[in-house]
């Protein structure tokens, strides 16, 4: 029974909340469309975070990234949207996202953004 794309991220409790550790997930299969031309864009998302109370469930992350497939977004916008969604769902201590988009007009663009929980 195939599962459908969804903006709803599933989480599970962090099994080692006493340790300050890092999880990195490299997702080379991100695609959305250009909001101006409607043509497909492709990117590799590298998501790195220090878990707080929760960790992300991997299959749920895959379905979340898949949900952008038919949506139109600028590079700088969609990268920060993913950051905000993941921070809201996971309440991490830190999170970084690097999104490397494929070459367009002879230029390769990478957007790098980060969140730091200043209260932890």
């Amino acid at each position: 029974m195939p599962t459908q794309p969804s903006k709803s991220l599933q989480v599970v409790p962090n099994p080692h909340p006493d340790i300050h550790y890092e999880v990195e997930m490299v997702c080379p299969e991100f695609t959305c469309v250009c909001p101006m031309t409607g043509q497909p864009d492709f990117a590799t998302f590298t998501i790195t975070y220090v878990p707080g109370p929760k960790i992300v469930e991997l299959k749920s992350l895959k379905l979340y990234l898949w949900s952008f497939r038919d949506e139109g977004h600028f590079h700088e916008d969609v990268t920060n949207m993913v950051l905000k969604d993941l921070v809201a769902a996971l309440d991490p201590r830190e999170m970084r996202i690097d999104a490397q988009f494929n070459v367009r007009g002879g230029i390769t663009t990478t957007v790098r953004t980060r969140y730091l929980d200043r209260t932890s």
Copy 2:
């Protein structure tokens, strides 16, 4: 004015039909969906051909490959479908297609197919 995906391949006359030469086009942005699960598949298509009377117009090839984005196909099937469409449109002397699909279940699959015009 953005152009839309289309199965219709545009061609132009071969400027040097007196020479037996080869054109290779590497397209790392192919995506379709799995016909069983509906989940996205990603592949790099490498298309190599020896032109006959016609060569393919590059933008038209991009739109043609884009047209598979929402269609469901098995790896072995879609690779040979692209071969047959391109052979029909271009009438080449030879054509090879290598389609390298991203890892699924820990396995990376590549389909390699070719056409040889035995009359030329």
Copy 3:
């Protein structure tokens, strides 16, 4: 519902039996145990074949390779066993297997074997 390891290979009809094409599957997650010491061995299997009437179903191949996890086999033996099982299930026109085993005693071993259907 997780599926269990199984020696039973599933096949589907070749969608393009009129074309002589090649399928390559790289499987870096093969493991079995040494029949003399019981210690684990690890290998990357690269399976390449020219389909005849059937193609292998990918998930079934994963479960088949998984079925060797607790079995003891010599490198030269298990590589040829996989070849014979796949030839029996698929009746291919040609098949090659390269199995690259991890270093043991400072030596990295690769076994390469092939099948050619001389009647096709």
Copy 4:
């Protein structure tokens, strides 16, 4: 309708001005001419910035870099000229430019420069 090279950089508002993030653009197709010999020079420009109120429009950046094609400049000069033009147009929080020029006389030259808005 092809667009022409232009020193005029187009910008759009930063969609996430609340976030301190970085955009990197790698442009391997920069070319100008040597002011002493008139011979072509080639370079890869890597432009990285932390956006302030504006982000650069990608096609406009391409046309801007193209505008140097027939101009004569020394390596150290043109790299800093591009920095000053981009800083004037974008008012970024930070910007770095690395320009790696092709080998001349057996020597490969890279110029690295940066801007830091000390008021932000």
Copy 5:
């Protein structure tokens, strides 16, 4: 006489306790099973530590990592379990573990954790 997998880590005295030095061990042959599906997972563990009074005996480490072969663990959990077991056995001044798990669902996950003896 083959040795069996064992959670019991063997140690030997640090031959140079007067020096603050680092030992890195790269173990690309870690495998366990997914606790939800029972399917095998594969990872490369990179273990780095600054020895305190003891260093780990290499064959013992191999048998310890082997002991996870038939156990079910989440990525984030098993990486921190290994850290805790090694810290308990070795009492190191510092220890880092990077566990890079093979791609699942198009996503490659790495878990990085560390221990710092704040008393040394």
Copy 6:
């Protein structure tokens, strides 16, 4: 005194006409413009030949390739034009040209052509 771009290729006598040897020249700095859009194209030309009575003078080849900088040509056309010019100037026993053009529309194109003097 800088030299100007020129279609005129200079040659010198082959110093070892008794030997069947090969000369390969890799030229990563080829640029021309697109005949449809006027935008710049970039390519790496790899020219390989078996000399007959003459070899090409290297600086002359550089000026010849430079002469295309402001001209508009299709990929397939310009590659074969260079082949024909070089064959006319050098009368080689064999010549191959591989022209790898930078990515456009997500697709990287390489044109490979060759000449064989069937009388030698």
Copy 7:
């Protein structure tokens, strides 16, 4: 109980004598001494063979290669000596040896030799 270096190669029966397959063993830890200066030489031996009635036992091969550690031999000589010893022990259908020796006097030397059983 550690085993000692020995020129005596152990063999086991080929488990699949009906199949023409290839075994490659890469041994980067070969060392002997220079017969003229007594200084150590280092090489990577790549041994590839098509088994006849026997295959080599891996640990025995390791001890065999180890046996050259204190012996003085020229590069060209020792490579062919290993070939002759292995052919005598295994009676293979084919065997190739590539021995790549470390740089001496600014020159890296590789010796490649092969055996073909013309009766098989």
Copy 8:
């Protein structure tokens, strides 16, 4: 008119003295001779500096490095000699030199030195 090797370095005024930027020059063609044996040595010099009032003229640097071709110097000595000559000629804010010499006696040596103008 070929120019001759010369210890005399030519400089030009820094076109952007208001900016703190860096110039890196990689020179893989340095050669001198061993002062003990008279045999040739080869190295790649990487020279990086932050310009003060002057920048080095590239052709002059080439001729300067060429001037060591017939001179005998130890690795540690010649690297620091080049540093001192360039600092005297350019009065830079900072300069680093990495000189990687080719393997001799199985050992590859790199000398890294730097200058920092503590008054700037």
Copy 9:
């Protein structure tokens, strides 16, 4: 006249004692034997130091490393022994040694140690 292995390190005066510079020597040909099994071990030693009054003579270093060829040592022990011998002979301002040993039991071990002259 071949020179023999020797623990005696030769030194020469530092030609530029006024400069704080670094010398790195990469020695991929280190070999000793395992003290438990007598089997050969292989490692690449990378030795980096900031010279004080003396620099090491390169041929002497080669003979020194050669002297371990028939000795039995644990990885952690021999790396620190080399550090102590070199510090005693050279009285450097700083020294680092990275020793990367070949894979054993599927595990690659690197030992990294350093010395810092706190009086300089």
Copy 10:
């Protein structure tokens, strides 16, 4: 006692004249000067041969290649001169030379030549 550059190649008898084997020597330290400008050229020579009655003594080859250091030669000429000298000295069954010269004027040139003893 350092040895001087010399055109005189030393040879030794082939220890295995009964075997058809290949020796490859990679020499990245070839340098000569340009006959037109007097400026240095650099190349990597790869010499491969099938020995006849003799093999080349390695140190002698080093001194032979060194002898070109102050001589002026065109790329195509010097490569074939080395071939002819080595064939005269060694009387090999086959010999190939690939000489890859460093980039000049943005172009990297490789000359490949070969000798085949048609009587053997």
